[in-house]
């Protein structure tokens, strides 16, 4: 099944999921509800809660469905609390769903957890799998035993990964002495030692500086292409997904609000740019077509460019005529803005 459609495997990656392509992940109507206790502050309330407990439900996932094809690189984005981590945790067998079905590599994650574990790799950005006090090489050795890898093939594999991720000089340095970026590269190596078919990444670039982030993204992209490892990534950083995935799922409040091509998302819903200016002196106002003032501060101003009315270049060149610029930052609108735009376009506003 794997080789049948290599003709479709273009440089842009695989983004059409017709039935001929092997589906490695299949999710239908997945729901996850947590029960939580209402917490009250204070001494008296602490005692009170001993006697009367109030529970309330948190619906983390409200029935999501998705498909992922072999070799694909898919991103799940959404604001904090959207349900991204919950989704990954269910697909990797950590959590049991409340209802719905999921199929990863032909296995039900929470039922065939061990069998699935041999075939998937996981990187949680917030949590390390490396032994903190020891050098990475010891963690690698441990994992080779856990995954029952033959010594020779493990060595070969390790050397290859060490080369790709450029961690040769850190192999024998205790993890606690490594920078976050260096540590993350070691985490990736750890997750790929056993040649997994799918790599699950939960916020892999969180906390990394710009350079380290860029490097991490390149490496993930390379692994996805060279080894045909399916990448399932979750993030709330839109730049992550832009460079890593062609297809994106936007999750908000436990539901998928958008599923499709990344470019469509960009051009469809990110039609604005935010400009942060620090000025020495203001010469005139910002009465430019397509530009509106969001906020005025003492020596700066926040502007919004509407890309439907004016191009970024035109707007910026007009803006810089307006004063002596000390600093200028151009940003995409926040993810929340994008999601709001998606809702507005769809015509339903959820509270």
């Amino acid at each position: 099944m794997t080789g049948t459609n290599s003709a479709i495997n273009t440089d842009l990656g695989i983004f059409c999921y017709n039935s001929v392509m092997e589906k490695v992940i299949e999710v239908r109507n997945l729901r996850k509800t947590y029960v939580s206790k209402k917490k009250k502050e204070g001494f008296l309330n602490g005692f009170k809660s001993f006697f009367k407990t109030e529970y309330f439900d948190i619906e983390a996932l409200k029935g999501i469905s998705l498909d992922v094809s072999e070799g694909e690189s898919l991103a799940l984005i959404g604001p904090n609390g959207a349900g991204k981590s919950t989704t990954i945790k269910i697909l990797t067998g950590i959590l049991y769903p409340t209802s719905g079905t999921a199929n990863v590599l032909g296995l039900v994650p929470w039922k065939d957890r061990v069998k699935l574990a041999y075939q998937i790799g996981v990187v949680f950005g917030q949590r390390s799998q490396l032994w903190y006090h020891l050098p990475p090489i010891d963690s690698f050795s441990l994992f080779s035993k856990i995954y029952e890898l033959e010594e020779k093939s493990y060595r070969k594999r390790l050397n290859k990964l060490v080369e790709i991720f450029e961690i040769e000089e850190y192999l024998n340095v205790p993890v606690r002495k490594l920078s976050l970026g260096e540590r993350m590269r070691c985490e990736f190596v750890l997750s790929l030692l056993h040649n997994p078919k799918i790599l699950f990444l939960d916020e892999p670039t969180i906390g990394l500086d710009v350079v380290a982030k860029s490097k991490a993204r390149d490496l993930i992209k390379r692994i996805n292409k060279e080894e045909r490892v399916t990448v399932f990534l979750s993030s709330h950083d839109t730049l992550d997904i832009e460079s890593l995935s062609k297809r994106v799922l936007v999750l908000n409040n436990g539901s998928i609000v958008y599923q499709g091509d990344i470019n469509t998302l960009k051009h469809g819903y990110m039609k604005k740019k935010i400009i942060d200016l620090k000025l020495k002196e203001l010469k005139g106002d910002f009465d430019i077509k397509g530009v509106s003032v969001l906020k005025r501060k003492d020596y700066g101003v926040k502007l919004e460019i509407n890309l439907e009315e004016v191009t970024q270049d035109e707007a910026v060149s007009e803006i810089i005529k307006r004063g002596e610029i000390l600093d200028i930052t151009i940003e995409d609108p926040s993810l929340e803005e994008v999601i709001k735009a998606i809702y507005e376009e769809k015509g339903n506003l959820e509270v």
Partner: protein, 267 residues
């Protein structure tokens, strides 16, 4: 063939963790020695207590000072064995609440066994040694006696671990599970160092069941004093029940595991 292969990899797995935990302990030699010192202090203080008590009483419910020292040594070795091999045995509720089980659940090994051996307290081995020394020098014994003593410590340690696994599982069901575990574990440790015979019968029943301090300390020592097949059988049956219950409750509880997300800001 499959069984042999599985056995091989499990042995490799266990040995690898022995190595990893040893390396970790060596990374922090100062902390290691400090922990051993702390435990020695503790042991010395309690021995002092019993010595002072026995200056005023020859026998306490049929036990003399040697017997109490035996109890002391046995419980010390038992706890040492438990945390020396299954170093996380007292940490399970905390791991459940903090979502630290995630790591083990994504790997192809039994999460329970894996989480237990991923930490081994090497300072506990120092404690164990001290316990053996107390028994050999303060109590005195023959080779046969020592072997019986050792066998009882192993049995006691297994009962302790099984019970703690079962107890930890309430964390899956009760929000205050971690606190309940802490209280019961503390009570267990405290009670196991005193001969259960001094307590009224109502409490004794609890010490043989809900808080099995008697099964961990008193009864094993009683067997060392006077070998009794009946008592040995009681211990073995208790072990089987607790072990089965422990594993079952834990695996059942995993279904309810919420990976800490509920109590944290991110889901």
């Amino acid at each position: 063939m499959e069984v042999r292969r599985k056995l091989h990899w499990n042995r490799v797995f266990f040995l690898e963790y022995l190595k990893i935990n040893f390396l970790t302990a060596m990374e922090y030699k100062a902390s290691f020695f400090m922990q051993v010192f702390g435990m020695l202090l503790n042991d010395a203080a309690l021995l002092f207590f019993w010595w002072a008590i026995f200056r005023r009483a020859d026998v306490i419910k049929g036990w003399n000072m040697q017997d109490v020292f035996t109890l002391y040594a046995l419980v010390t070795v038992s706890f040492g064995l438990a945390t020396g091999i299954f170093g996380n045995v007292f940490m399970i509720p905390s791991m459940i609440v903090k979502g630290e089980l995630d790591f083990y659940l994504t790997l192809p090994k039994s999460p329970l066994l894996h989480l237990l051996i991923s930490r081994m307290s090497f300072s506990a081995w120092g404690d164990m040694l001290f316990g053996f020394l107390i028994y050999i020098f303060l109590v005195g014994t023959s080779l046969q006696g020592f072997l019986l003593f050792f066998f009882m410590t192993v049995l006691s340690a297994l009962i302790l671990v099984s019970f703690l696994i079962a107890l930890s599982s309430i964390t899956f069901y009760l929000e205050s599970g971690e606190n309940v575990f802490g209280d019961v574990a503390n009570a267990l440790i405290t009670f196991s160092l005193y001969p259960s015979s001094i307590f009224p019968s109502g409490i004794k029943i609890i010490l043989y069941t809900l808080i099995p301090a008697a099964l961990i300390g008193y009864v094993p020592v009683s067997i060392v004093k006077n070998f009794s097949l009946k008592e040995l059988l009681v211990l073995i049956i208790a072990l089987v029940i607790l072990a089965v219950a422990g594993v079952m409750l834990f695996n059942r509880g995993l279904k309810r595991y919420s990976s800490g997300s509920v109590f944290g800001p991110k889901i």
